[in-house]
Symmetry: C2
Subunit: 373 residues, 2 copies
């Protein structure tokens, strides 16, 4: 088995992300080695947090690799369970199961399971260790890295959480085989984003190898996941807490989040909303002459290739209004990430309401014309 390891450096510690095909059965041994044999010596308990569906598909392959069988805790799949009340249930289960300061949690699942498990680890006994085993493309290239953990409140998404880094992340490409095609494509938009903001070679690979990538060819996916992880690792290393460089990861996300909010998180997957948001961002960049028409068209072609660009309903003016996080800011300019070439980008603090209105209207016209039902 050949895998790629990428170190993620943070001010406090460095951890490794290992990516490859056939990795799942080796995770137990890897973790045991990382803990100097604490698992096989019976000195540290392991709890795997997952969902019934993912457990049915992939838990056996993961569990088989552990010297002693971990305890499996299961929560229903879906964003609606990413809630504080769910955490309480899991915390009580950890305590009843005898979890202590030496216990290690394993997040086996997508971003929902990963964010919740990381947060559990952050707050159980004021912080225990955890390992990421992401099973969606989005989780492999994005949510499992960077240390952001948390849950939703009724009042809004990800309003509660903590920064807490995993001990290691193991991304087995094979588990993506059972992922719904729409989830794979939506996640790949984050790789397209990584290419546009910081990695021209990744962008070109995605452009020229879209057939293999979309057919889940293991070597192609391993390459794409690894390159995407490298982009996020670089950005996170330079800038742990939110600001400066980390902002670049928001390409397509300002309008993407507005679309998600306007459609109440029901019509599009996150990556699908980000795809529309990226189309809107590159349109502003072209209008500003930051990028050439050719560059713009090539970016558009790749975003569309990893589509489908799904139809949704929203009023352009409402979308523009939703890009103002801060209500006091409604009238002013926005900070916006724009590409400056294929593979470079920057934060522009002077994007005007006029530009936003232009691109939102243009985008809604595209939705009407090209959006896939």
């Amino acid at each position: 088995m050949s895998t790629i390891s990428i170190p993620v450096r943070t001010p406090a510690l460095t951890y490794n992300v290992e990516i490859g095909s056939g990795l799942l059965p080796f995770v137990g041994g890897r973790v045991d080695a990382l803990l100097d044999g604490a698992l096989s010596a019976g000195k540290a308990k392991v709890f795997v947090v997952t969902s019934p569906e993912i457990a049915r598909l992939w838990a056996a392959a993961l569990l088989a690799g552990f010297p002693t069988p971990p305890t499996v805790l299961s929560i229903p799949a879906g964003e609606q369970y990413k809630r504080f009340a769910t955490l309480e249930t899991l915390l009580e289960q950890l305590a009843e199961g005898g979890a202590d300061r030496d216990t290690v949690l394993i997040a086996l699942g997508g971003g929902v399971i990963g964010d919740m498990t990381g947060f559990l680890a952050a707050i159980y006994m004021r912080g225990i260790r955890y390992i990421g085993v992401p099973t969606t493309l989005l989780a492999q290239v994005d949510s499992s890295l960077g240390g952001k953990t948390g849950a939703n409140l009724a009042a809004g998404k990800n309003l509660v959480g903590a920064f807490h880094h995993p001990l290691a992340v193991y991304s087995d490409i094979d588990v993506l085989a059972t992922l719904p095609a729409a989830e794979l494509r939506a996640g790949l938009q984050e790789s397209v984003k990584a290419g546009i903001i910081r990695d021209r070679a990744l962008f070109e690979y995605l452009d020229t190898h879209s057939d293999k990538v979309l057919a889940s060819d293991p070597a192609a996916l391993t390459h794409v996941v690894a390159a995407s992880v490298q982009v996020k690792a670089d950005v996170v290393a330079a800038d742990e807490k939110e600001s400066g460089l980390r902002m670049l990861l928001n390409l397509g996300h300002t309008l993407g989040h507005a679309i998600e909010a306007a459609t109440h998180y029901k019509q599009l997957l996150h990556g699908e909303a980000v795809a529309w948001g990226m189309l809107a961002a590159i349109a502003i960049a072209k209008r500003r002459n930051l990028i050439t028409v050719d560059e713009h068209d090539r970016m558009e072609r790749v975003i569309v290739a990893y589509g489908p660009l799904k139809r949704f309903e929203a009023d352009p003016a409402h979308l523009v209004a939703l890009t103002a996080k801060d209500k006091k800011n409604r009238g002013g300019n926005r900070s916006f990430v724009l590409p400056t070439s294929i593979g470079t980008s920057a934060v522009f603090k002077d994007v005007t309401l006029d530009e936003l209105t232009y691109t939102a209207e243009r985008m809604m016209a595209m939705v009407a014309r090209d959006g896939v039902a």
Copy 2:
């Protein structure tokens, strides 16, 4: 108004604890200054977390000092509300009240309010700032310092939490006037502990000025609180996460916690259990000739002076069993903090079951003979 300021140094930041009489109305201005005028400029919202009873007594004095009126969130008093479900309610109230990354929480209350508010601040939007305004002696000398925040699970006390330091702590001695006498005395046992483990002068002051201290004389209480805070600040600065030096704060707490557990946290206040635990610890120290009989008797006299030593029911063997945190460890030696003189102490890793049994039986005989109903 004359106050004492004590810096608490941590690896990440330094914050000040200000102690004095008549401080409450000045807290608003102090916080505004600390935030470079963000409160008076309307740039940061303030939420005060407290209990109805404390709010009735002391909120007006605190709130009057703020340039704009803070929002007050209230939770019922008592350890039974120090729960995850209570946090969820408060988190939703914060979000509905428009709390954002610049918001500052103020904990106005005892250790329960302080621990919960610090934890709220640790997890709301992955961390916002908070200020301690402790209103019990225990909170002023102990729980408001050191960055430990959290809540209880059904499965056990303080099983969930985070390390999160306040921006500053303001301890107004005057608020202790409304504290039940038993709470004051129980809290003062932590000051006795501070004196024994690290500050002979504090111990001697407590010995010679017990009348004034127990009558809540402002100058005497200010001195005792400040000296106790200094001890904890020194220990915390040297050793942020639990280990080494910080262990010394556990004098009297190994058996104290066992007593609390054996009596289901219902018969004694925490400080009352610690008082018995300290009597047990100094008895072992005397038996080991770590301290002289005179030193022992003087410590005993001061602990008793800040009593009453309340009666409780427990089986000595059960108490000894409960001192083993780790069930596997039932048969072995225990780590135990023992005084080595008045004002110095150390962790002893070789305290035997025999010594524990000796001191637990001796203690239960004292309970039967001298315990106050």
